[in-house]
Symmetry: C2
Subunit: 329 residues, 2 copies
């Protein structure tokens, strides 16, 4: 069984873009985010339309930043957390190229990068945009409660990132290279608390990181950073413990996008989450640090909790998944 | 802009499996469907769990029919119509391999085949299963009304197929070959009637078939059959008209899985639909005819309507998408 793909031609990420809501734009990464919104409605009438417009803006700006035009792009690979990934669908409607919708919850961004890199590396397509989004308010009312209800959040909960990010992959141009990817498997840790997604995803992240390092014959020192998607504070502790039990100490290298994105205060508890979380952090801060060669080689491991409100109501536990993508400058 | 991918190594479909509910198992294709259910609950307590179990059975049997074991499979690529594609997630939980979730509504099956064929053709993975499902009752209550309400269906409506299908792709083994694929773009015909999805998808199907034939330099005679996914009777007429206007007469070659699957009577009106529709028809009837060489070369064009109940409530029209995969025996 193969889990890790090695890219012979090392597709390049020739440009990225990020956009985020007011809260994220005032967080720790504010100087790196390209488009900072002062209003999370983004001039639209609904949160869902605002999310779709954010994703459109991120895709459009990533193409501009890559010095390409919309006609140069062969396909968009994107996904989001909304039912039937409508943020992605309606943003893709505005582009003339092909569209491949993907969904692995908050692990969608590295799923898209894995598939995009495969299409470029094999010479099947020339230019692909990989993108994801999430929106606090559209996610909250879809997965949990109406915002107007003002429900108290438990301490193990996370805060869905309002934001979107996009990466343009191509062999023509310059930028950090995608060298390998490890496809995640569905791992069920038996967690049933839909407010504790960090714990639900931690075992999937540990499984993917363990298999990646093993398949590559690497120690954890190989990477400057091993970046999980949105495990938050509690989930990050669990993934480090699980990997330590399997013989890998990632204490020094590990950071989590969910922990990075906010100036954590009481509201966000464990930190950020959402398909936009790893996407905003990678396409702003991490990408810039790779381009500046302040980071040489990182492993991005977006993490997803594979639940729906129906699956939780029907008594299912919350399986997790994590896909890893190795990027070097 | 590239839309069509040509596979140098022509990945083989070495085994398939299909499973269907009582209505589909008594339709025109009954002798071809592998697992025929007498009860669409399939021994489960909810329609969603029944759908997930159907998908699991199709994947498992496709692996057995390919003379492989679960450990030989590198990844499952699957999707369905449920919110957060939970039928796929929870079926993939039972397999030890990687999982890539995809969603393009009822066009998901050919999206999965396109991505699976790319991963095999480039030598990135050895064995991939591509699968989709749908269930009349889980779709009806998610997208439309509670079944208990007994709503009258308008004459332009279709009937969501209760069924699942899976294809195993590999270079080792024998079977029909995937020779090319054309990635669909999101096309908006401006249809707003969620009961008239055939019309909403017809222009996307016409766009993909037109681009495929043009990119390959083919006339429509190249294929024994051009098989759309679930346009139904009305949508099929529209796609033929649109292609005729663009200079391609597909009257002789065109069939639609939604028209094939039922002995159309009053209930189903325009015919079948759903992510399981093209998947059940391809993985039963079409695959057997290709193996027997009664069909030499077909173009499978699964078609999807990219709506959600939220997008319709917010006044959006229904864009369509269609991905085409060419298969020869």
């Amino acid at each position: 069984m193969k889990r890790t793909i090695f890219f012979k031609n090392k597709p390049k990420i020739i440009g990225t873009s990020s956009i985020a809501g007011p809260k994220e734009s005032n967080g720790s990464l504010k100087e790196f985010i390209e488009t900072k919104l002062s209003d999370d409605m983004y001039g639209e009438k609904t949160f869902e339309k605002a999310e779709s417009r954010m994703l459109f803006t991120a895709i459009k700006n990533s193409i501009i930043n890559s010095k390409k035009t919309a006609k140069d792009v062969d396909a968009i690979i994107s996904g989001d957390l909304l039912n039937q990934i409508i943020a992605s669908t309606f943003s893709a409607r505005n582009f003339p190229c092909g569209y491949l919708g993907v969904y692995n919850a908050c692990a969608t961004f590295t799923e898209a990068l894995t598939l995009g890199a495969t299409l470029i590396d094999g010479g099947y397509l020339d230019t692909v945009v990989c993108a994801t989004s999430s929106h606090f308010s559209s996610a909250e009312r879809q997965y949990r409660y109406p915002l107007e209800l003002g429900c108290t959040r438990p301490p193990q909960s996370q805060w869905t990132v309002t934001g979107a990010g996009a990466s343009v992959l191509s062999m023509q141009g310059n930028g950090p290279k995608i060298i390998s990817a490890t496809i995640g498997k569905v791992v069920d840790f038996g967690v049933t608390d839909a407010n504790n997604m960090g714990a639900a995803m931690a075992s999937a992240a540990a499984d993917t990181i363990f298999n990646h390092l093993n398949d590559c014959g690497f120690s954890s020192d190989e990477y400057d950073l091993i970046v999980t998607g949105d495990l938050g504070t509690l989930g990050s502790r669990i993934v480090k413990d699980l990997l330590w039990e399997k013989g890998f100490d990632v204490e020094k290298q590990h950071v989590d996008c969910g922990e990075l994105i906010y100036n954590i205060c009481e509201d966000e508890y464990q930190g950020g989450s959402g398909a936009g979380c790893s996407s905003v952090v990678f396409n702003s801060y991490l990408y810039q640090r790779l381009r500046e060669k302040k980071l040489n080689k990182i492993l991005l491991v977006a993490t997803g909790a594979l639940l729906s409100s129906v699956s939780s109501q029907q008594g299912e536990s919350i399986p997790g998944i994590a896909h890893a993508v190795a990027v070097e400058c």
